[in-house]
Amino acid sequence: MYCFLRLSVLLVGLIVSVSSYAANAVQPLTTADDLGPKVEQPIEFPHDRHAGDAAKGGMQINCMYCHTYARRSIVAGIPPLQKCIGCHQNIESVRETPRIKKLFEYWEAKKAVPWKKVHDLPDFVRFNHERHIQRFVFAQNKPVQEACGYCHGDVKTMTVARRQKPLSMGWCVSCHQKDHPVDATSTKTTHGPNDCWQCHK
């Protein structure tokens, strides 16, 4: 009787685990499924208009002009509202458009815009923006949009951002295993750190 009980509990555990594993194991690394959910934002922010190519009507603004924290902190941060207003108070041409009107409503009420998070990692993962930007943009002289794009995709073609990459551990590691030159001029190469504790502190 005892043995039976023990066995059955073990078996149930096993079956549950295997089925769950099976469900997860079939996921390939890059497909359309990598796309994150469509996120509805309080203001539909046009990344394409701000960062897009001039030929396509974009302003070609550097990512780091607004996401100024990315090079200085582990989080890229959403710019403070004052940053938007700083420019937009001088751009009369779009002042009366619905999105900008809404923006000024928040500003006048001194209320933060309740943006939704588009790229989220589990709480046990610590991703550091600063390290990546310092390495790719400042040491290797890679264009900013390319460096950001490794993880965020081609944001300059989007309106509101949507997750483009799986951001799973295997995906991170696949890049960390590749050799990169140490800096823009060096022939020495290295790869990203692959110690567990780099991300799981």
Binding site: I78, K116, R163
Partner: protein, 736 residues
């Protein structure tokens, strides 16, 4: 059946598989919140604010009256961690565990969030307008002399506003009460040295003889003293100072001493006089009138009276003679008796004879703004209020910063007398024992979200005004700062004078900026001065030094003979002031309950400390629940058998045993304040905290004490830890 057969190993196996499923589903991004979680940005922010990187702001600790300078790490608008302010002469970048718990006072779930008006047994939430109007109405209905304000120690601009408010009401009844305060020492110091709180230079002393002053744990300004102590131990000249601690119950400081001497309770003064006699016999020049008084205190007699061996007395005298300057400190253990003032005087006399006054006991600094100087409190003030309440002379009572219903001995019958006051207003953070009795409870901002200035009683260096500034936005919109409330109340009385100030912040800024000349900002423009003051967390004041005198007179210095035995109440009760809980005002901060007592390692409960000999005599072992009964009441708690206590003494820590206050404090341990006998120091009228005699009897139960300590000689990871050694095996003869 399953419990028996389904053992831990099987369970782990199953959990292993189950765990694997959980981990795998983790890979499938089930724990991420794409598109669901908000990522809120600032509306406006300063350039130096970077998300995820802490910014430090200076302020002043409010956890005890030492008023250390602190800085708080603030991230994304939340205060996360406190550190000492390196620029503060009191804390020099350090702080204590009690101070660290300040964030738990701030984020505490039991904080009161809106004004509450009594409705039967319940408190009903009302608006601030209504609360303030109600106060106005109640005050209008009584005579000024029937209005009383009870506070803990206050200083700075809140004190100024409080005084102005009382003046505006025409009431002179400001009672200041501190439950655990060195009141007897203050009086004795005033008499001996001319100042209440001389500077003690531990760092300059070569020997410190402390009579029960727990200066590393809970006494006066422990963070500051700890740093001086470090320099005393590792002096610039390479000579390590020697600390001898004489007390009946070991304190944290006693545990750090080179020599810990257990003394029969109350005989500290006798030992001090005996040491003077031994010093003069050994050739130290002592004036004739002093010799005349002390000559009868021969080493033999002193040894018999105090229980300290003649050998130790001789060694101590030789040490004090050889190494000068020394420093003799009278702590709460020496003053806690009906003859506490005499004990303190005898100890001051020893300092004088040794020539320490002016060397290790220095004068303090005069305070340029006496209206902001700290008002220190004592129990007599509470007694006066209590008497007035008993005679129905108090119609409206305000209470702020003290919790007398918890700390007053039961014999005062304070709770009963409080019921006679028709309208009681409590300014409070928690529904503590006093707030529960109130008719109107006004919720205060936490110290980490409030404005204020503090002038600590013990300042390390010169005079200073410490600034308390908000480290973050208020957590609860319904709370207010004490300064704001007083300002609102003053606007009711003196609208013309105060209507220009929108809030306490504008009052404070204006008051400081308009006096910037005296606050060290004569050359700066207003904004520069104010910003610098906030950034430093304090302003230095130019105080004239107060000279110290030394005229302990031996006239009338009589130290009574040791206590006679009392067969009905054979033991002395020492209510211990612990470094974490002190008088119990912070008991609702779980870190403090959880951090083990430094000596016994006990957590989350009260205990009765007892010498093994006494325990053996009573047939008690560790964990026995005993009843400790004094003439004034009885409490029950677990016994902890401990050699660091005199066999005639038992000790129970203070601060436990709350009946209200919050989820972490309520019902944890027992309240030792309640059973203290009403015996008072003869000179100052202060409660003699150590005078209570008790009897101990087994209550029948036995528990396993929850503590960190393992068995003696215990092992950790195969290595011996904290090896115990009995004190007679320690050879300190080279030091002493």
């Amino acid at each position: 059946m399953i419990e028996n057969s389904f053992n831990r190993r099987d369970f782990l196996k199953v959990l292993g598989w189950g765990g694997a499923t959980v981990a795998l589903s983790g890979c499938g991004n089930t724990s991420v919140e794409d598109g669901r979680e908000f990522v809120t940005s600032y509306v406006q922010t300063a350039d130096y604010i970077i998300p995820s990187i802490g910014t430090y702001f200076n302020s002043t600790c409010a956890q005890c009256d030492a008023g250390c300078g602190i800085m708080g790490r603030v991230r994304e608008g939340r205060v996360l961690k406190l550190e000492g302010n390196p620029k503060s002469p009191t804390s020099v970048g350090k702080m204590c565990g009690l101070g660290q718990a300040g964030v738990q006072a701030h984020y505490n779930p039991d904080r009161i969030r809106e004004p509450l008006l009594r409705n039967g047994d319940k408190g009903e939430a009302i608006t601030w307008e209504k609360a303030l109007a109600l106060i106005n109405e109640k005050i209008g209905g009584v005579k000024a002399e029937n209005i009383a304000f009870l506070t803990g120690g206050v200083s700075g601009h809140v004190k100024v506003l409080l005084k102005n408010y009382l003046d505006a009401l025409g009431s002179g009844h400001h009672y200041v009460y501190e439950a655990v305060a060195p009141s007897i020492m203050r009086a004795a110091n005033k008499k001996a040295y001319g100042v209440e709180m001389p500077r003690l230079r531990l760092d300059k002393a070569k020997v410190i003889l402390s009579f029960g002053a727990d200066f590393l744990g809970a006494w006066v300004s422990p963070v500051h003293f700890s740093q001086q102590y470090a320099r005393f131990r590792k002096a610039d000249n390479g000579k390590r100072g020697v600390l001898v601690q004489v007390e009946s119950k070991m304190t944290l400081t006693g545990a750090n001493a080179d020599r810990w001497l257990a003394i029969r309770p109350g005989t500290e003064g006798i030992l001090a006089l005996g040491l003077i006699n031994a010093l003069s016999t050994a050739g130290l020049s002592v004036s004739g009138d002093v010799v005349a008084v002390v000559k009868e205190y021969t080493t033999d007699r002193v040894s018999k009276d105090t229980g300290v061996s003649a050998e130790h007395i001789a060694k101590l005298a030789a040490l004090l003679k050889e190494r000068s300057p020394s420093l003799i400190i009278a702590g709460s253990a020496a003053e806690g008796y009906a003859h506490g003032s005499q004990n303190a005087a005898a100890i001051a006399l020893l300092n004088q004879v040794l020539g320490n006054v002016g060397k290790t006991v220095e004068g303090s600094s005069g305070i340029p703004f006496p209206q902001m100087a700290p008002t220190t409190g004592n129990r007599q003030a509470l007694q006066a209020l209590n008497d007035n309440m008993a005679q129905d002379k108090v119609k409206v009572l305000f209470s702020y910063g003290s919790n007398p219903v918890f700390t007053a001995p039961a014999s005062m019958k304070l709770k009963e007398n409080l019921k006679k006051v028709p309208f009681k207003v409590a300014f409070a953070h928690y529904m503590d024992e006093t707030a529960v009795e109130a008719d109107l409870v006004l919720p205060l901002n936490s110290a980490l979200e409030d404005w204020g200035t503090v002038m600590p009683e013990y300042v390390a260096d010169g005079a200073q005004l410490s600034i308390r500034q908000p480290l973050m936005e208020k957590l609860h919109p319904g709370t207010l700062g004490m300064g704001d409330i007083l300002l609102a109340l003053l606007k009711q009385r003196r609208p013309n004078e105060y209507k220009g100030y929108e809030d306490f912040y504008s009052y404070l800024r204006n008051a400081m900026v308009s006096n910037k000349g005296a606050l060290g900002g004569a050359d700066a423009d207003d904004n520069t001065f104010w910003d610098a003051a906030l950034s430093h967390g304090m302003v230095k004041l130019a105080g004239s030094p107060v000279n110290i005198s030394s005229h302990v007179s031996v006239n009338g210095l009589v130290v009574p003979a040791p206590f006679a035995e009392d067969s009905a109440y054979p033991l002395h009760l020492i209510p211990a002031v612990s470094a974490s809980l002190r008088d119990g005002r912070n008991a609702n901060e779980p870190w403090l309950q959880e951090s083990p007592d430094p000596l016994t390692t006990i957590v989350w409960d009260s205990w009765v400390e007892m010498h093994p000999k006494t325990a053996a005599k009573l047939g008690i072992v560790e964990g026995d629940i005993v009843e400790v009964a004094s003439k004034s009441g009885a409490i029950k708690a677990q016994v902890y058998v401990f050699t660091g206590i005199h066999p005639d003494v038992i000790s129970v820590p203070l601060g436990y045993g709350h009946e209200a206050m919050g989820r972490y404090a309520k019902g944890v341990g027992v309240n030792a304040f309640k059973i203290l006998d009403p015996i008072f120091d003869k000179e100052t009228g202060e409660l003699a905290m150590h005078e209570t005699r008790v009897k101990v009897s087994k209550a029948g139960q036995r528990v396993i004490i929850v503590k960190d300590e393992g068995p003696a000689g215990g092992q950790q990871m195969g290595r011996k830890i904290a090896v115990r050694m009995s004190s007679d095996k320690v050879n300190l003869s080279k030091e002493v």
